[in-house]
């Protein structure tokens, strides 16, 4: 019996790996969550859940006590929290830790050499990539202390419940997704079931080195392939427009220099250490609430970007790319395909779910869970449309 404690159990990956391992009698699973509010995907299954705050080593020790393997699917944590987790794993002589890194550590424009994991690293230039990179380095230190760790490195995660896909659908509907080279740039994807399979392999692999290991899907997918699969859910929207590469670069460069206020506010609000302190200190909670409510006072342009809808390059409304989402443009500029040679060799990794099959399942899930296309969809669409309606008169 392999006893596995899964941290970040309520995340898409956590949930999928738990569902996978529960079907196998050789595993005993302990899903560990931070708070129940986001754990409904687990709650509905009636599983016994354990709550643990990673800021509290005592709670961590209780969560891991008696478990031989640990999977960490939690969002990037402050360095202190990941150290807490690895300290407890080391102290309790856990047999294997499987951690999730992310290709974001290679930066927003990785070179062709980043097809392989050992490519030299530049600054990630995103807070997410930076946090993941710090986490990777801490993990390596614990490997040198004797902790057996696998560090899987996925790109964008697709599959049922994927936020990444639902966000793209929203941009397709809004006309805010722009494609470079008519969508012929590569897109690095991993289906969540393939990632869950890789995590299982990493739990049991003979030897792991604690260094990043790319886990991606097998097929060389392009942006146009993904858009083609999602257009049936775009509610009749026009296909996305093509954007010249130079213009795309200009949009992204402008974004980097124009959102410092956004980054400051966002990082303060999202910082888990501040969240943890809030519980104890009413004063900090007040500041946090003020900052959150203060977001509403920000200019609309910055507010739009806080909501993830992209940043305008110019103030002029004549610019047709004003509303184009820059996050997805940046991803297209990466123009590299991460290869899984190491995963195949070290973990015997072979993707189980193909791209077309995975997207078919996603569309089915999306229709069932959002009501897209059902007999009430016309009413539902009216609700969407009036959310932003400005043409009201008082009666």
């Amino acid at each position: 019996m392999i006893r596995v404690a899964v941290f970040g159990a309520s995340s898409l990956v956590g949930l999928t790996v738990i569902e996978r391992l529960l079907k196998k009698p050789e595993y005993e699973i302990r899903p560990v969550i931070h708070s129940p509010g986001n754990a409904w995907g687990l709650i509905r299954q009636g599983l016994p859940l354990m709550q643990a705050d990673m800021a509290d080593p005592t709670q961590l020790a209780q969560a891991i006590d008696g478990y031989t393997h640990v999977i960490n699917c939690a969002l990037p944590q402050p360095t202190k929290l990941i150290r807490n987790l690895l300290d407890v794993c080391l102290h309790q002589k856990v047999d294997r830790v499987v951690n999730l890194s992310c290709v974001a550590v290679y930066g927003i424009e990785p070179g062709a050499e980043c097809a392989h994991e050992d490519a030299p690293l530049k600054s990630p230039r995103t807070s997410y990539g930076t946090d993941k990179l710090k986490q990777d380095r801490i993990l390596e230190k614990y490997v040198s202390k004797g902790l057996s760790c696998a560090n899987l490195c996925p790109p964008a995660i697709i599959g049922c419940r994927s936020d990444y896909l639902t966000e793209i659908i929203q941009h397709l509907r809004n006309g805010t997704l722009a494609l470079i080279d008519e969508g012929n740039r590569p897109i690095n994807l991993v289906h969540v079931t393939n990632l869950a399979a890789a995590i299982e392999l990493a739990l049991c692999a003979q030897s792991v080195d604690g260094k990043r290991t790319f886990i991606t899907d097998a097929e060389p997918t392009k942006w146009a392939d993904l858009v083609r699969e999602l257009m049936p859910l775009a509610d009749g929207a026009d296909p996305p427009r093509s954007i010249p590469e130079e213009l795309a670069r200009g949009l992204c460069a402008k974004r980097e220099t124009s959102v410092s206020l956004k980054k400051i506010v966002q990082s303060i609000i999202a910082n888990p250490e501040i969240k943890a302190q809030m519980k104890k200190n009413p004063g900090i909670r007040f500041i946090h609430r003020t900052l959150k409510s203060g977001q509403q006072l920000l200019p609309g342009r910055i507010l739009d970007s806080l909501k993830g809808s992209g940043i305008s390059m110019a103030k002029s409304n004549d610019n047709p790319w004003r509303t184009a989402n820059t996050c997805f443009i940046e991803q297209q500029l990466q123009n590299v395909r991460h290869l899984t040679d190491k995963a195949e060799k070290q973990l015997n990794y072979q993707p189980e779910t193909g791209f077309a099959e995975g997207m078919d399942l996603f569309r089915q899930w999306y229709r069932n869970y959002t009501g897209y296309g059902d007999e009430y969809w016309a009413l539902h669409r009216e609700l969407h449309r009036t959310m932003t309606s400005r043409n009201l008169v008082t009666h």
Partner: protein, 347 residues
């Protein structure tokens, strides 16, 4: 117990020191000039102490209602759903008026016991469907009753968040404690409004994604056949998928929209058209406005003082509970359930 204007303040206990007490019930009670908060009751003393500390108040603390019940006129019950019944009956049987967080009870039988205890002691039972204190909810009822919209053809209500409210006790993780999932936790507010607007449906079809725990997604089809032409409705609720929160109704007069936030207004527009929408509002001063929990507390206190029914009384709470029970009892078979095949895609 009927109070008069020259009587002392209403001696109120709040039972349950969770998030809803901290954020809403206790501030509403503390801000009411005719209420004396004389106890905060929670089985976890530390939780009560933290609430008092954070709000900067000094309220006597107890770990069970029986310890303070003798000195009370009224109680707010904001504990895990499955405990409402026992605490409410204990209060009501001693003549203590109660405002019970929604749902009033888990199941019709428990709800009926609450009403019986209230009837015997002539005490007030109010149920915490705070959204009923929105002006638009009352306005919609009036417009429907007056036939303003002409024939109603069908309606849709959706509410969906990716996660959300996290109660301090974590009771939502246990179906026995919560009495249900998204239907009871999030959907109950709309169900209560729907019953207020349209009455009890003649037909209910229910599906959800529960695999033993409280459901995270639910789909309910209802039909109301009291009108000449039956009104059909679909309610879609989710705790895992973001959906716009609001009510849309197809009527002879146009498409009626009411978004699910406190400042939203009722609007009517051309069918599925981007044309101009008309906004319907109540005249200023016709109905009180303000924080819904404060309005709810005002209503409860007045009901206790005047011996009148509160805006949302026990009978209405019971109708909602009956609806939930009927849904869960008639959950659609797995092979008919769209949630069953694609809850996830794990192999």
């Amino acid at each position: 117990m009927t109070m008069t204007a020259d009587q002392p303040k209403l001696r109120l206990a709040i039972v349950g020191a969770g998030r809803i007490t901290r954020q809403s019930h206790l501030p509403a009670a503390l801000g009411h000039p005719e209420v004396e908060c004389c106890a905060l009751v929670d089985s976890c003393e530390q939780r009560s102490l933290e609430v008092c500390r954070d709000l900067g108040v000094n309220i006597p603390i107890a770990t069970q209602i029986e310890d303070v019940i003798e000195g009370l006129d009224a109680a707010v019950i904001a504990t895990p759903n499955a405990s409402h019944h026992q605490i409410a009956v204990a209060c009501l049987s001693r003549g203590v008026h109660t405002l019970i967080e929604k749902p009033m009870a888990v199941g019709v039988e428990q709800g009926q016991a609450i009403l019986l205890a209230a009837e015997r002691s002539n005490a007030v039972v109010a149920v915490g469907y705070h959204m009923r204190f929105r002006q638009t909810v009352t306005l919609m009822k009036k417009l429907l009753s007056d036939g303003y919209f002409g024939t109603i053809h069908r309606f849709s209500y959706t509410f969906g968040t990716d996660g959300g409210w996290s109660p301090v006790s974590g009771y939502i993780m246990d179906r026995k404690s919560s009495g249900g999932g998204v239907l009871v936790v999030s959907g109950s507010h709309f169900i209560n409004r729907m019953l207020y607007w349209f009455g009890y449906p003649s037909s209910i079809e229910y599906q959800d994604d529960s695999q033993g725990g409280p459901e995270a997604n639910a789909l309910i089809d209802v039909e109301f056949s009291k009108t000449e032409k039956p009104i059909r409705g679909r309610i879609r609720l989710s705790k895992t998928v973001e959906l716009p929160a609001g009510f849309v109704m197809e009527t002879d007069r146009g498409i009626v929209v009411l978004h699910d936030h406190k400042d939203a207004q009722i609007t009517i527009g051309e069918s599925y058209d981007d044309g101009c929408r008309i906004q319907l509002t109540i005249k200023d001063g016709e109905m009180p406005q303000g924080d819904e929990y404060e309005l709810q507390m005002n209503d409860f206190v007045e009901a206790c003082q005047q011996g009148r029914n509160p805006r949302v009384g026990g009978s209405e709470g019971l109708e909602s509970d009956r609806f939930f029970q009927q849904c869960y009892a008639n959950r659609m078979a797995r092979e008919m359930n769209p949630f069953a095949s694609t809850a996830g895609d794990a192999k």
